[in-house]
Subunit: 481 residues, 2 copies
Amino acid sequence: MAEEKKKGITVKKEDDMAEWYAQLCLKSELADYAPVKGCYILRPLGYALWEKIQEYFNKRMKYRGVQNAYFPLFIPESFFKKEATHAKGFTPEVAWIANRDEEGSERLAIRPTSETIMYDSYARWLRSWRDLPIRINQWANVVRWETKATKLFLRSREFLWQEGHCVYETNQDCDREVELFLMEYKDLCENLLAVPVLYGRKTDKEKFAGADYTMTIEAFMPDGKAIQCGTSHNLGQGFAKAFGLSFQDKNGEASIPWQSSWGISTRLIGTTVMQHSDNRGLVLPPNLAPNKVAIVPILYDQTRDIILGKCDQVKNELREFDPILDDREEYTPGWKFNEWELKGVPIRLELGPKDLEADQVTAVVRDTGEKQYIKIKDLKSAIPEMLALMHERMFKKAKQHLESSIVEVRNLDELNKAIEDKRLAKTYFCGEPECEDLIKDKTAGATSRCIPFNDEKAPKGSKCVHCAKEAKWNIYFSKSY
Amino acid sequence: MAEEKKKGITVKKEDDMAEWYAQLCLKSELADYAPVKGCYILRPLGYALWEKIQEYFNKRMKYRGVQNAYFPLFIPESFFKKEATHAKGFTPEVAWIANRDEEGSERLAIRPTSETIMYDSYARWLRSWRDLPIRINQWANVVRWETKATKLFLRSREFLWQEGHCVYETNQDCDREVELFLMEYKDLCENLLAVPVLYGRKTDKEKFAGADYTMTIEAFMPDGKAIQCGTSHNLGQGFAKAFGLSFQDKNGEASIPWQSSWGISTRLIGTTVMQHSDNRGLVLPPNLAPNKVAIVPILYDQTRDIILGKCDQVKNELREFDPILDDREEYTPGWKFNEWELKGVPIRLELGPKDLEADQVTAVVRDTGEKQYIKIKDLKSAIPEMLALMHERMFKKAKQHLESSIVEVRNLDELNKAIEDKRLAKTYFCGEPECEDLIKDKTAGATSRCIPFNDEKAPKGSKCVHCAKEAKWNIYFSKSY
C-alpha cells in the first residue's frame, strides 16, 4: 500500500538522533507541530501517556497527603517583584496579557510557574500550626516565552506539568520532604518509565530562581545529552517573607514557615521516547503503554469467522491489559505489524490458521522482536510475566548505558574529551558560577548536571576541574537538552 | 471555640441567595477569590468535585469512542476571521497576548474555545473516510474577558471545561451524536449531580456562534433562575469549509465533512451547590462527594483508646467510601459535626461510649439530618443503601421544584407574572431574535432557555407570547445566571 512507505522513519537513531526523534514523534502520532510558533499538539497517543503519568503520580501524591487544586492562569506583575531573585530569573521569558481593564492598571502575566499566585493565597489561609503542613499540587499549563527552536516535548512555549507547593513548620520538615518528592520522581522514572536517573543537588548557578537549593533527577540520552526530568526545591523562608506567610506556633508565638516546590512535566514523555525507542518506532515501557497488547488476526476466507471469534475471546480475556483488536479490513497483516511497532505497543499477538490449529497465538515483544508461541489458555498468566520481563530488560539496558557512560576526569582536556565522546563526566568542582560559565564556553557546551545525592563533598585536597582551586563538590558534567 | 461562630453562614438561603451562595463557597473552602479581577481559586474540595466529574465523564467518553488530546492555549488572530459568525460572537471577549516575536507579526489570542485551532489540525490529519469519525476531547482552561462581576463557578474570566470536537461523514451521523452527547450530559447531571434538567434546542439568538443549531441542558435554581449547564452544537459544514477539511469518500470523491462540538464546565459545581445546599452548608450528592463518610469519635478518658480503635476498624471496613476519621484532639465533637455539615459529607458516623456498649454507631445523613443507629457489623451493607436513598431523595426534591415551577403562559402579562413569581414559563414563540430581545427588555430579564426535545413545534394556530404572530416553537423562558 501507498501508506506503508510514508509511515516509516527515514533516518536511523544512530545516524541523526534529532531528525529520527522528530519523525518518530510525528509519524507515531504522539504529537504534531502547531500553527503557533513554539507550541505543539499532544495528539491522543501522546496525551494518553501524560494521563498514565498523572494516574500514577496522583496515587503517590494522595499517599503523601497532597491535595490537588487550581489557581489562576494570570499573575499580577507586582507579584513577581516581591521575591527579587525569582523575578530576575523569570522576567525575561514571561508572556503578558495585552488587555487592561483601565488605563494604567497593572499588567498581568501568564503563569510561568505559580509560586507567587499560590503563596499570596497561602498567606490568607495560614493561621496556626494546626494548618501545617500545607501540601497542595496543581496540574496545569504554563507558558515560557522561549526564543530557541521548539523540540517536541522537550522545549516549547507552553507545556503541561504538575507543581507541588508545600509549607512546613520547620526547615527540617521542609528538607525531609524536598528529598521525599525527589525520591518519588526517581521512583516514577524507574517504575513507570523504565528510565534510570542520576539524582542530587544542583549548583548555585543552576538552582531555581528564588530557592535555597534545588534537587534534580537527570536522565542520560543515547546521544550523550542529559535531560533534567524533575526538580524539587527548598525555598527556605524567602517567599514566605515576601508574601507575608506566618503562623501561630505551638507556643503561641508568630513564626515564619518554610516552603518547598517540586515539578515534573511533559518532558518526561520526550525523555522516555528518546531513551527506549528504535528505528522501527516507539518502544513504550509496559507500565506506561496505554494498550499493552495488539491482536492482529491473519485472515483467509475459510477460517475468517472462527479466527475473528477466537481473537474476540482473547481480547475479552485480556481486557485488563487494554488490548487493541485490529480487525480492520482495509489493511494487510504486514501493514498492521508495522503500525503497532511504530506506535510502541509492548506485545503483538498474531492469530492465523496454524495458530488456530495449535490453540495458540504467536506473541512478539516490541523491544527484542522475539517470537514465542503461547497456548491461549496460558495467555492470561503469560502476558504480565512478559510485560514485567520487558520492563526489566528496558530498564537494565538504559541503566547500563548510563553507567558505562560515566568517566572520571581531572582536568579540562579530559572533560573535553569526555564530552566529545558523548560521555557523562564525573569530576570535582569549586562551585563558583563564573567557573561553570567558563567550563561551558571552553568545552562543547558542558553543563553541570548534579552533585550526587549522599556523595556531595569532594575529597579533601581535590582540585576543581577548571580553576584547579580547592574543590567543593563531586559533580557530573555533560551536554544537555 | 472562637472558630465556631466564624464558620457558620450568616444569611439564609431563602433570604439572600446570592450572599448565602458566596459565603457557602468560601466558608466550605470550595473556592476563594483570586487577587486577579474576574478569577477565582478552586481549593482542594472544589477541585476534588471537578476530578469526580472528570472521572465519570472520561469513562463515558471512552465508551463512546472519544480520545483525549491537548491543543495550544494560543490562537492566531487570523484563525478567528476564517468563520465569520464565530469571529463576531467571540471577538469582544477575547484576551490577547502582548508579546510579539517581530514588529507586525500576528496577534495571538488566549483560547476562549478551541474550534479554530483544532480544526486547522484536523484539516491536515483528515484524508479518507477511514479516518472518520474523529472524536477528540480536551480538558482545558479557557479565558473569556468578562466585564460583569465574578460569580464563583458561574462567571469568571478563566474557567475549566472539556470541549469535545467531532467530525463525521454525513449530517445524519452528526445529528445523531449531537443528541448522544446531550443525553450524556443529561445523564451526568441526573446520575452524578442529582440535578434534573430541561433539555432541548436553543433559539437562533442563543445558539453558539458558528453553529447550525445548539442543544442545551438547563438546570433551574431555587431562586427562579436557570443555569445553562452544557451545550452540544451541530456546526454543519461552516468550519469545515473555512478550515479546508475534506476527505475522500467511499466512492473516491472529495467530500466535505460535518462537525460537532460539545462542552461542560466548572459551572456544574456551582449548579450542584446551589441546587442542593442548605443553611448549614454544602449538601453534596453522594455520587459526587469525594468522601462519603466522616467518622467522629466521642472521646472520654476512660474509653478513649478502645473507641479510637473501633473507629479505626470502621474506617478500614468502609475504605471504599473514602471515609474521613476526624481524630483531631484540638476540636470538640460539636465543632466537628458543624465542620462536616458545612463541607457536605453525606453521612456522619458518631461513635461514643453508649454506641460502643451496643456495638453500634450513630449515623446522621446530611440532607435530612435524620439519625439512625446501625450495628457495626451491618455498616458495610447499610452505607451504600443510605447513599442510594439520599441520592434519590435529593434528585426527587430538585425535580419536584423544577416541575412545580413550570407554568404555562399565553401573553406578556402572564409571562411577566411568572418571572416575578420565580417560575419557569412555558409558552409559544415565533423564533425571531428581535422578538426575543424585546421580551427580555419588557420583563425582568426573561430569556429563552430551550425548545423542549421531541416537543419542539408549537401547535397549529398558536400565537407568539410577545408579537402574537404565528408561533413556531414550544419554549421555556425564565431568568438565568
